[in-house]
Amino acid sequence: MKTEAKGNFLPLATVTLAIIVLWYLACIPMNAVLTTPKIASAGGGFANTLAFSWNEVRPVLPSPHQVAREIWNTVFAVEPWTIKSLVYHLWITLSSTLVGFIMGGLLGILLAISIVHVASLEKSLMPWVIASQTIPILAIAPMLIVVLGKTGLPDIFTKASISTYLCFFPVTIGMVKGLRSPDVMQQDLMRTYNASASQTLWKLRLPASLPFLFASLKVSVAIALTGAIVAELPTGAVAGIGARLLNGSYYGNTLQIWAALFVAAFAAAMLVWLLGEMEKQSLKRTGGKA
């Protein structure tokens, strides 16, 4: 592997800039079906083409500054607790994401600890855990939400159940790998100390599994956010990022869709970054490689 002596900033900035330039250029043909009559009636010309393509009210492809303006209008220009604010919608989605993520993480860890300590559990359960992931849970989200809604649980738990189902699998797989990762030498050492299974778990296996746990948690939190967004779709919800996406899709409000998408993307990036920071702190304290 080449050591990264040079930084990533210049290539990343170049690629991002190239994407933005291509985006501006793509607006012209993509919005053509809407803009061609307007350009013709304004007398044609290059300046008119650009002006109309980049400032369409209901564009097929909004230009970057339109998206930025919409995000500004719905995030910074309104009070965060009103229904007009994307921050409010983001909070609704994030709350069910976090509840689902915590429940899924705990379930995954418990399942992993059981699988590592009880041999027959692994043989009977693991194939079904893996098979369960081939069922596109996001596709049965509508049915699950409707059914769970009838049980009388608060909305946040029905949405969180989808996130839990999606989260627990990466955490289980990662933790099983992590709990089994200590060297044979180290396990023998614990045996010479006459350590019980519980002591080996707390003093050896769990600290060794932290890197695997955090890698899985980073994948899980992104999946949990996706699950929470999809969970909002079926019930015709009025609040939440998924509801904004659906709403924008039904009323042809393209800018609303793009703004909601970018805010959700930002939230996902923030969550993953936060977990990365937590990972660095915990690895420092347990003596792992930072």
Partner: protein
């Protein structure tokens, strides 16, 4: 063996006890939901201890498939028992026998949905997305500047809720299968890119030096050393992509579709309260997904037979 048999008998007794305590009213009371939760736990332990007993009784060659099979059959039997014992309304949870009979009775509809979603959206989208990801990875491998710019972006996009672009794609490509295939392409591109790039770096330094010693060109090194060494990573991505492809196609159908397709059928049948049809569609999705994954695993075994994970 003693412990397994005792667990089996105790959990079976507890499950029967819980099963006869249901109040069988419609709608179910809160008491019923608590009993349901208890029944789930007891019957799961029962199914697991049955498979545990089987694990101890049968020779090793058979337990590999027998133990999960017994566990699965146990869970389905528990499901059937639960529906009959609790008299839960069919709009909440149909029994496996009802689902099976609905499945057998709706084969033409299920087949049409299968063709629309799997054959027209999932497979082409998966091929195009994975292919594009693979080619982009080769481009990035050739050009280090592009790799250093695109890989962090790829890692970022892979973490984002990609399902959010579904309404945009439906707007661009129309209601029919092209927008669903486009959704699959978007979802499968980045995992393939990231994994292929990781795989291309997986060949050892010694082996790459050997190829350099033979004066091999970039293409020859790629074909004879780096691609075969990257195959475990590529198959890992292809398997992940098979799951993502199914999810992408079905979720994209929630945002607009002609009157055929698995996602369409699931959402409309939920609205019409025909939950047995929804479960029949889920069964089709699960079977196709498992079959797809199984084919990929077989192909992986043929291609990467040398990998340490296949050693007994």
């Amino acid at each position: 063996m003693m412990r397994a048999a005792v667990t089996l008998l105790v959990s079976l007794a507890l499950s029967i006890l819980v099963a006869i305590s249901f109040s069988r009213t419609n709608p179910p009371t809160a008491h019923d939901w608590a009993l349901s939760f208890a029944f789930v736990i007891c019957s799961w332990v029962c199914a697991w201890s049955l498979s545990w007993v089987a694990d101890l009784t049968f020779p090793k060659a058979q337990t590999r498939w027998l133990v999960p099979a017994i566990f699965g059959i146990g869970i389905i039997a528990a499901w059937e028992a639960y529906v009959h014992a609790s008299a839960i309304p069919v709009v909440l949870l149909p029994s496996p026998s009802e689902i099976a009979s609905k499945f057998a009775g709706s084969l033409p509809t299920l087949a049409a949905d299968f063709v629309q979603t799997i054959l027209r959206a999932v497979i082409p989208g998966w091929l195009i997305g994975s292919g594009a990801g693979f080619l982009t990875a080769l481009l990035c491998d050739r050009n280090d500047f592009l790799r250093r710019g695109l890989l962090p972006l790829g890692n970022l996009v892979a973490a984002l809720p990609i399902v959010g672009v579904a309404p945009i794609l439906v707007m661009w490509f129309g209601f029919d299968w092209p927008s669903k295939a486009a959704m699959v392409v978007v979802m499968t591109f980045f995992p393939m890119l990231i994994n292929t790039l990781a795989g291309l770096n997986a060949s050892g330094h010694m082996e790459r030096d050997l190829m350099r010693g033979y004066g091999a060109s970039w293409a020859a090194t790629l074909l004879k050393l780096r691609l075969p060494a990257a195959m475990p990573f590529i198959f890992n991505a292809l398997k992940i992509n098979s799951t993502l492809a199914m999810i992408g196609a079905i979720v994209a159908e929630f945002f607009g579709t002609p009157i055929v397709g698995m996602g369409f059928r699931m959402s409309t049948e939920v609205g019409r309260q025909n939950l047995d049809m929804v479960w029949a569609e889920i069964a089709v999705a699960a079977i196709s997904g498992s079959f797809f994954y199984g084919c990929l695993s077989l192909a992986e075994r043929r291609v990467t037979f040398w990998h340490p994970s296949y050693r007994r």
